[in-house]
């Protein structure tokens, strides 16, 4: 049975408005998704009925808050199939999670060690490793794409006996391509490297199983999967989390403190200094519940069919460079020769269509593709085929308007 996004629309009242007298068409979901009512309700309920600091007071509200907070950890652990809820660490988002690992592993690196990433990385999964390399004398190495945007057929030689850390995105935010993670993680493991997967662009679309991926760390942001901003997750295997030196210290993460020394708390608290983002945690668990209640594969198939529809129409129209794959992606990333993407973006905006024009925090990838930036339309479960068609129609109008010289 075909999936009907209109059934989900009532859960996203923000989408029912107009923008400059046009129906708002939100196709910037890779930047952040909209939040369904159950997420908003959960946050409101927290403040209306169980707001208190967690793990601290022994009183009615604090117990309720702590219970719900730790239940949320369980929900998120199940959502990514983590074996233990103590393997789920709350962070501000993907960026902070990667930084927790990059600082936490500093003590294992020696001069000449190698940190391996790929060409597809968001700056969040590049700069922390580059800076770590600067601090330790390690070398940052890149598994490159070929000039036509494919993986080199033979990339195993990038994985060497000096590779200590391998970090890769599951799905590229800039062009929507996926990484051959199974193969790469295997190669990294054969060299005894720690492996980290950036799942920021994957979690909203793909059912995630960290045990099947067999990575040491998996990181993602709540706001890209229908949850609130300011909350994210660092999942790690037990031994991998245990080896991390805490990136921040302070309250909550300690067991005993004297002026001479501090005994750190156990996982997960050891890596969570200070009062956590409680409302964010509650909201993120509600977002997991929202997704769990859907037929995930039907959602994915729908989102991919929208991207493929746009791809096919624009390819037929001609004169448009498309950087995303034809299939198995939920976004379309493009540019038009001799027309600035900001001009296209401005016209789409004037028609109420929200997309993203820019370098998508991936300067090296853009340089490799030979463009300053691309225009990206990214889809979520609530987008309709009419919206995909409107995007194509208005984009083609914009090209006509701007193409007169």
């Amino acid at each position: 049975m075909a999936f009907d996004p209109l059934l989900l629309r009532p859960l996203f009242p923000i989408l029912a408005q107009s923008a400059y007298d046009h129906p708002l068409t939100y196709l910037d979901n890779a930047a952040t998704t909209q939040k369904p009512l159950p997420v908003l309700d959960a946050i409101q309920e927290y403040y209306l009925s169980f707001n208190a600091n967690v793990h601290r007071g022994a009183h009615f509200l604090s117990d309720r808050a702590t219970n719900r907070f730790e239940q949320a950890r369980d929900t998120v652990a199940k959502f990514i199939n983590a074996p233990e809820q103590s393997h789920v660490i709350w962070t501000k988002g993907t960026t902070e999670a990667i930084n927790v690992v990059a600082y936490g592993l500093e003590h294992i690196l020696e001069k000449g060690d190698e940190i391996l990433i790929t060409s597809l990385e968001h700056h969040a999964n590049l700069v922390p490793w580059q800076q770590l390399a600067f601090r330790t004398g390690a070398r940052l190495r890149i598994v490159p794409l070929t000039s036509n945007g494919e993986w080199e057929p033979e990339f195993s030689h990038y994985f060497t006996d000096r590779t200590r850390i391998f970090a890769a995105t599951q799905v590229s935010n800039a062009i929507g391509a996926s990484t051959p993670l199974r193969t790469m993680i295997n190669l990294a493991k054969q060299q005894g490297a720690f492996t980290l997967v950036d799942g920021a662009q994957a979690v909203a679309h793909y059912p995630v199983d960290v045990q099947a991926l067999d990575c040491d760390f998996y990181v993602f942001s709540g706001h890209k999967m229908y949850g609130p901003t300011g909350i994210g997750v660092l999942y790690g295997k037990n031994h991998a989390l245990e080896i991390l030196m805490p990136y921040q210290t302070g309250g909550e993460m300690v067991r005993h403190v004297s002026y001479q020394a501090t005994e750190f708390n156990v996982l997960p608290y050891r890596l969570e200094a200070g009062t956590p983002h409680i409302e964010g945690v509650i909201g993120l668990a509600a977002a997991c519940d929202f997704l769990n209640a859907q037929d995930r594969l039907a959602l994915l198939a729908w989102e991919q069919s929208l991207a493929n529809h746009v791809y096919t129409r624009l390819l037929k129209a001609g004169g448009i460079e498309i950087y995303s794959p034809e299939k198995n992606t939920t976004l379309v990333s493009l540019s038009v020769p001799n027309i600035h993407i900001l001009d296209l973006n401005a016209y789409l905006d004037s028609q109420g269509i929200a997309v993203r024009a820019g370098s998508h925090c991936a300067h090296p990838l853009m340089a490799q593709l030979g463009v300053a930036g691309t225009l990206r339309a990214s889809f979520a479960c609530y987008n309709t085929i009419e919206e995909a068609d409107r995007f194509c129609d208005v984009l083609l109008d914009a090209i006509d308007l701007l193409n007169d010289e």
Binding site: H340, L342, D343, S350, G358, L402
Partner: protein, 147 residues
């Protein structure tokens, strides 16, 4: 030096932009205006003339002649060239003291261009205004093309 505004009269520019009733009309008017901006030569598009903080590339050249400021500008984005035509129409040929006293943000807002002013858009219009103001403040020639 040549008039950077081509044949366009400032009063026309103002009237055209003020007549826009929608974001789309403003877009189309800016595209039309963009065609009146003489393009800079490759030699003039130096790093020094480039404005930092713009997502599109913007170059601005300011010169002083008989106590009056003259401007040339360019961008790789068409809409930005239209915005530049509007901005330059406000300041071209004025003395630095006059420019100093102008509230450029308010004047652009009167032209229906306030959505180009919010810093969140990071399109750098504010950086352009800053450069125009500070350039006139220092009375220097450091942004001239011949240097």
């Amino acid at each position: 030096m040549t008039d950077s505004l081509g044949q366009q009269k400032p009063v026309n520019i103002k009237a055209q932009l003020q007549a826009c009733r929608s974001k789309e009309e403003t877009f189309k008017t800016l595209v039309t205006l963009s065609k009146t901006l003489p393009r800079l030569s490759t030699e003039e598009k130096t790093e020094q003339n480039k404005i930092k903080g713009c997502e599109s590339a913007v170059w601005l050249i300011m010169e002083e002649n008989d106590g009056r400021r003259h401007f040339k500008a360019d961008s790789d984005a068409k809409l930005m060239r239209g915005v530049l035509v509007a901005i330059l129409s406000l300041v071209e040929g004025k003395t630095q003291t006059d420019i100093q006293q102008m509230d450029l943000k308010a004047e652009l807002a009167e032209l229906n261009l306030s959505s180009y002013l919010t810093s969140s858009r990071t399109n750098g219009v504010l950086a352009i205004l800053d450069k125009i103001k500070s350039g006139s403040e220092h009375r220097d020639n450091q942004h001239s093309p011949k240097q």
